[in-house]
């Protein structure tokens, strides 16, 4: 269990206000996205994992280390917070090198590692400028550089894609993937659901301080039996396919596309549906494409938390 982040019945209250309540999680390595509306407890959960706040109840272990022991925790963990403020008067280079020096690195190693970390987030040219003069995107990147500089096994990133332009965003996502591919933890909170969808190995959906779902997106979606799976099929003989599909007892609804070139199917058993579709295809229906319509974070969010923020 030492490669996991484990939260056992963790609650955190700010006076009368609930931060998170009764959270029990065992997070495996890979990219884990925390998803939820504002005030759902994402940042509190990240602060709890990194020891910036203490649980009112319950216990937390990060790779077997208690967050109450920062001396050990921050040797394996890097955290890019949402706080957009920095020690006064520092340049980007000083910000990272001070951090590494405090981590116990020698002066020479520190210079080299700082330059490497800053290079990884493409801030080389601005490294010796004061952070106070950085743009929002540059500040995001310097925070990311700080979090990754000491090569941590656990990377916790609070809204790391905010303020980044599309190119940098893609590079940053590639960096997360690289970390995850090496068997490390990358815990990301984000409001941008389509990006969460593409980068996450697993998601944790939070609402009002409670974990409402967790696991791999497909797995979570399959467990939500009250919401039939939606599948979009583009085909040549849509009317025929619609009638054949509707004969299946697990299919609850079929809608023909307006152009007559496809249909939307709602089924309670996706596996059986895909098997049946194979047989139908053999019967002469020309199927061009089949794609799940709601097997994504956006749909999970909409079904579990509500639609008001799902488009963000």
């Amino acid at each position: 269990m030492n490669d996991r982040i484990v939260l056992d019945n963790v609650s955190r209250f700010y006076g009368e206000v609930l931060g998170v309540n009764r959270v029990t999680l065992s997070v495996p390595p890979g990219i884990t996205s925390l998803v939820g509306p504002n005030g759902s407890g994402k940042t509190t959960l990240m602060n709890l994992i990194t020891g910036l706040v203490r649980p009112t109840r319950g216990s937390i272990q990060v790779l077997g280390i208690s967050p109450t022991d920062p001396e050990k925790l921050f040797r394996v963990c890097g955290y890019a917070t949402q706080f957009d403020s920095f020690p006064r008067g520092m340049t980007g280079f000083e910000f990272i090198s001070s951090y590494l020096r405090l981590s116990g690195m020698s002066h020479d190693d520190c210079q080299r590692t700082t330059a490497f970390a800053i290079g990884r987030v493409n801030l080389g040219e601005a490294a010796h400028r004061k952070i106070a003069g950085y743009s929002k995107g540059m500040r995001q990147r310097i925070k990311l550089a700080q979090a990754i500089a000491h090569d941590p096994r656990v990377l916790v990133l609070d809204e790391p894609l905010n303020g980044l332009d599309p190119l940098v965003r893609a590079e940053t996502i590639a960096l997360f993937r690289e970390f995850a591919a090496e068997g490390r933890h990358v815990i990301v909170s984000s409001h941008i659901l389509h990006e969460v969808d593409t980068i996450s190995d697993q998601v944790i959906l939070l609402s009002n301080g409670y974990v409402v779902a967790e696991g791999k997106i497909h797995g979570v979606r399959e467990e939500m039996r009250e919401h039939p799976m939606q599948v979009i099929i583009r085909c040549t003989r849509a009317n025929l396919l619609a009638s054949r599909v509707f004969e299946q007892d697990h299919v609850v609804e079929v809608r023909l596309h307006a152009d007559g070139g496809g249909l939307l199917v709602k089924t309670r058993d996706a596996d059986r549906f895909y098997k049946a579709l194979n047989h139908l295809a053999l019967d002469g229906v020309g199927i061009e494409s089949v794609a799940p319509a709601d097997d994504n974070v956006n749909s999970l969010y909409e079904y579990l938390i509500g639609g008001e923020e799902s488009t963000r």
Partner: protein
């Protein structure tokens, strides 16, 4: 591990030093420290100017100290003029049936005022020039009642409460809390940074105050004073200044960690330290000022204008020997720092409510 802690403390000190020495927020600490230097400098410059004036008067109306001191009350105006000549200044008052004449003489150092009533000497007033023993009492008073109790006190409030609370307000404290550093080590590093800054600022000021005060004495007077225990006084004052920063620093570091608004604990400590003289002997020892006064080389003269009733309330606690005073102050400091370190260990980042 211990080696790494020392290295981390060194790094925290280095990072903090720039903030404590050069922050715009701390400018008033420098002004507070320099205020007594300016007061003593002003005093010395005025004394130098007065002496020059007296010497000029003496050159115009030469008279010796011995001749002036030989004049006795009851002498007639003519006898006085015969002995010491014409004064450099003469003032006359006329009231019904009474004529008062005031004659001023100077030997170049002191001013003698002879007050005649109906041409007979009724009173002699000798205004001595400042001497080092006299000025050292003035310095002791300013040092103990203004410098220790107010300047260093509020300077330490400004520097030490900001070490944590200031970063909470700037929302930048998380920089340290995301590093693999024990929070207790962070607290110690920040405390030492504050201590270095305040000791540098206030000890420099103490030294400059003494230098400013000695400016109006002659070189030989100053040399004699320094040779006769003066260096010991200077060292003691510098030591007491550093000890004040040590003690008050620990209290205000803890206040910055324990309270969201450190002004309230600062005011409470100010009142506690201020009423120290009225406290029972045992309670006196739970204060910084008691040990600082025990360490001060010159006892400040009591306030002559203090009402009798107030004097009755003052309890005299025997000043403790220097070694005990240092030990007492260190014990107090370590106790308060232990509380601060304990609080730092449980420190949370919650900028929205701070």
């Amino acid at each position: 591990m211990t080696g790494q802690w020392f290295s981390q403390i060194g790094l925290v000190i280095r990072l903090e030093m720039r903030k404590t020495f050069f922050s715009r927020r701390g400018l008033w600490v420098y002004l507070l420290a320099l205020a007594p230097v300016l007061i003593f400098l002003g005093h010395s410059l005025s004394e130098i100017s007065n002496r020059k004036e007296r010497q000029e008067m003496n050159a115009a109306h030469p008279v010796s100290t011995e001749a002036l001191r030989s004049i006795q009350r009851g002498a007639s105006l003519e006898e006085v003029i015969e002995k010491v000549g014409e004064p450099f200044n003469k003032v006359e008052f006329h009231r019904p049936n009474i004529n008062i004449d005031v004659y001023q003489y100077t030997d170049g150092e002191s001013v003698f005022q002879f007050q005649f009533q109906d041409s007979h000497l009724r009173a002699i007033n000798e205004q001595d020039r400042d001497t080092i023993p006299k000025d050292s009492l003035i310095f002791a008073g300013v040092f103990q009642f203004f410098y220790l109790r107010l300047a260093i006190f509020f300077g330490c409030v400004g520097v030490f409460t900001n070490l944590f609370r200031g970063e909470m307000l700037d929302k930048s404290l998380h920089f340290y809390l995301l590093t693999p550093i024990r929070r207790e080590i962070l607290a110690i590093g920040k405390y030492l940074a504050g201590l270095i800054a305040t000791v540098t600022i206030f000890c420099t000021s103490t030294f400059l105050q003494l230098a400013a005060l000695s400016l109006h004495f002659t070189g030989s007077e100053v040399s004699d004073y320094l040779a006769g225990g003066g260096w010991g006084h200077v060292a003691s004052y510098l030591g007491v200044t550093a000890a004040a920063c040590l003690g008050y620093g620990s209290i205000f570091l803890a206040a910055g960690l324990l309270f969201k608004n450190p002004i309230i604990p600062a005011a409470t400590v100010l009142v506690w330290e201020g009423m120290n003289m009225f406290l029972p002997a045992a309670l006196k020892k739970v204060s910084v000022i008691f040990y600082l006064q025990s360490l001060s080389p010159v006892v400040a003269p009591p306030d002559a204008k203090m009402p009798v009733l107030e004097k009755l309330l003052v309890t005299a606690a025997e000043p403790v020997p220097a070694a005990w005073a240092v030990l007492g102050l260190l014990t107090l400091t370590i106790l308060v720092l232990a509380i601060a370190a304990r609080k730092a260990r449980k420190l949370e980042i919650n900028y929205s409510t701070d």
